[in-house]
């Protein structure tokens, strides 16, 4: 495919496109160090006051704590449901498979505003509105399709014969699952859980509808702060979250690169 190497003008354009993708995130960084009490670029002196405000504010810390709890619980719940479902489908491909999979990934295809109203309807009638369990349930619905797809993809790459071998050696379906299948897909389960955690951690559209006063997740607090007079604390929160993401993406890129190199050496 060397013949299809992109040319000079398009190379210049792609670098501009990359700047477009990354620039708004970089622009937040200097703002977070402003010594002033309003949103501004620092001119001569830098200050950590907005980081200090973040680290000492009970509201922000409370939101971080609530978000951690919600994301952990939703991720565990979604992953358990997704793994069970995907295993059941994988064991016995029922005739209704396409329909079943279509049904469980529905919340991913439905626009978030509609899911939000649906879940608001459910929670107000169940007395779960603006409660932690309510938010956890709502988030589970929204993130479970992603977990299902992740686990299904991992299972599709698994050799079916290991299940048959285990069954022929007399293991029950439960024993096969616990001792043979689960150990073989643990990486996939972990990535499904991680994906569910991240999606819940930054979920905002649904959260706006099912919380009001008692539960204020981190994104909800950021949303409130983005109203008219923006507090620079938003910038320091953003920088912390961006730093975490950058670290994760870099680790992943390096890990994938090293794995590829190892595979090359192994096959050479």
């Amino acid at each position: 495919m060397r013949a299809e190497r992109p040319g000079g003008p398009s190379t210049l354009m792609v670098y501009m496109a990359m700047v477009f993708l990354i620039f708004p995130l970089l622009a937040i960084i200097p703002v977070s160090f402003t010594p002033k009490r309003f949103l501004s670029m620092p001119s001569d002196e830098l200050s950590l006051r907005h980081y200090e405000a973040l680290a000492t504010s009970p509201e922000w810390l409370g939101s971080i704590w609530q978000s951690l709890m919600v994301a952990t619980a939703s991720a565990v719940l979604a992953t358990v449901l997704a793994v069970l479902f995907a295993l059941g489908i994988w064991y016995r491909r029922p005739r209704l498979t396409p329909l079943l999979i279509g049904f469980v990934i529905l919340p991913m295809a439905v626009p978030p505003i509609i899911s939000a109203i649906v879940l608001y309807f459910f929670e107000t009638r169940m007395g779960l509105y603006d409660t932690l369990p309510g938010v956890i349930l709502a988030h589970t619905v929204i993130v479970v399709p992603y977990a299902v797809i992740t686990v299904l993809v991992v299972l599709s790459q698994l050799d079916r014969r290991i299940e048959r071998a285990a069954r022929n050696l007399g293991a029950s379906l439960w024993q096969t699952t616990v001792f043979v299948i689960l150990p073989n897909i643990k990486v996939g389960i972990a990535s499904a859980g991680f994906l569910a955690f991240v999606l819940s951690w930054e979920e905002i559209a649904i959260t706006l509808f099912v919380t009001s006063f008692d539960v204020v997740t981190l994104p909800r607090r950021i949303w409130s702060g983005l109203r008219d007079n923006i507090d620079p604390v938003i910038a320091s929160v953003s920088v912390v979250l961006i730093a975490l993401t950058v670290a994760a993406v870099l680790v992943r890129t390096v890990a994938v690169g090293m794995k590829a190199r190892r595979n090359k050496e192994a096959s050479a």
């Binding site: 990354i22 620039f23 905002i204 890129t253």
Partner: protein, 270 residues
């Protein structure tokens, strides 16, 4: 029949928490404020609501086309660029992709607002005397949405481009086609499934999207989803909001059906 115990919990859970309430919302649209099709009548006759629908479709179309052009360029370099550039692109696409939509919209506020970076630079260079309005209008909303949607268009395009058989391109070259002709007559048609898939994904996502428009539009560029949000959260017009959601859902269903008709989704998910 043991496997039923595996399969059953998730569909049952979703039926209870999601499907039944969805029917409840449809019921809402037919009963609040009074029983009948009044809400739907209003949606299809009220010039204000029809205007919001038109604006939504227009902006979603613009966002989809711009995202697609940007994504095609990036995907092409991601697949065929030199290795170092591939790494850089991967990082530049994945980092924004994993960052909360709120933070990304906030970044654009810093860049585009009247006292923001771009206006500051243009003023320092003496190119403008008055700041350009780039947020709280359609321009800002489109920029923010394109930024959010670009990765969703890039992934299916990359998947499709990777599947194009290099031998076909070599054959075209061997038969004497120049680079432009190779791209226009061979490569681009072969990447069409990815283009169609990416277009629909972005369009469908944009329709139901209200966070970015709400932040960057400042309440002045209200699209359907944000209008529903306002109906629900401020004016408590439950029935009208529910009816709008049903219409939006019907629209999305039709779009997904069309997408499934013209492309094979299996090709996109690899």
């Amino acid at each position: 029949m043991e496997w039923c115990l595996f399969v059953a919990p998730l569909p049952l859970f979703l039926a209870l928490v999601y499907a039944l309430p969805l029917l409840g919302v449809v019921g809402w649209s037919l009963t609040d404020p009074e029983p009948g099709f009044g809400n739907y009548q209003k949606i299809f006759t009220d010039p204000a609501i029809l205007g919001i629908f038109w604006r939504t479709l227009r902006l979603c179309l613009i966002v989809s086309l711009v995202s697609l052009a940007l994504a095609y360029l990036i995907a092409y370099h991601w697949v065929f660029g030199p290795p170092l550039r591939q790494r850089l692109i991967e990082i530049c696409v994945l980092i924004p992709f994993w960052i909360s939509v709120l933070i990304r919209a906030f970044g654009w506020i810093i860049v585009l607002r009247n006292r923001g970076l771009v206006n500051g630079w243009l003023t320092d260079l003496g190119l403008i005397s008055e700041p350009l309005s780039m947020v709280r209008n359609e321009f800002g909303v489109v920029i923010g949405m394109v930024h959010f949607m670009a990765p969703y268009a890039i992934f299916p395009l990359v998947a499709t481009m990777r599947q194009i058989d290099p031998r076909v391109m070599s054959a075209a070259r061997g038969l004497g086609a120049g680079p432009v002709r190779r791209f226009v007559e061979v490569f681009f048609p072969l990447s069409m499934p990815g283009v169609i898939g990416a277009f629909f994904i972005v369009f469908i996502f944009s329709l139901g999207f209200f966070i970015t428009p709400a932040i960057l539009g400042g309440g002045r560029v209200v699209m359907v989803a944000e209008y529903v949000f306002l109906q629900m959260s401020q004016t408590a017009n439950w029935g009208l909001g529910a009816a709008l959601s049903v219409v939006l859902l019907a629209l999305v269903t039709v779009l997904i059906w069309v997408l499934l008709k013209i492309t094979r989704v299996e090709k996109l998910v690899n």
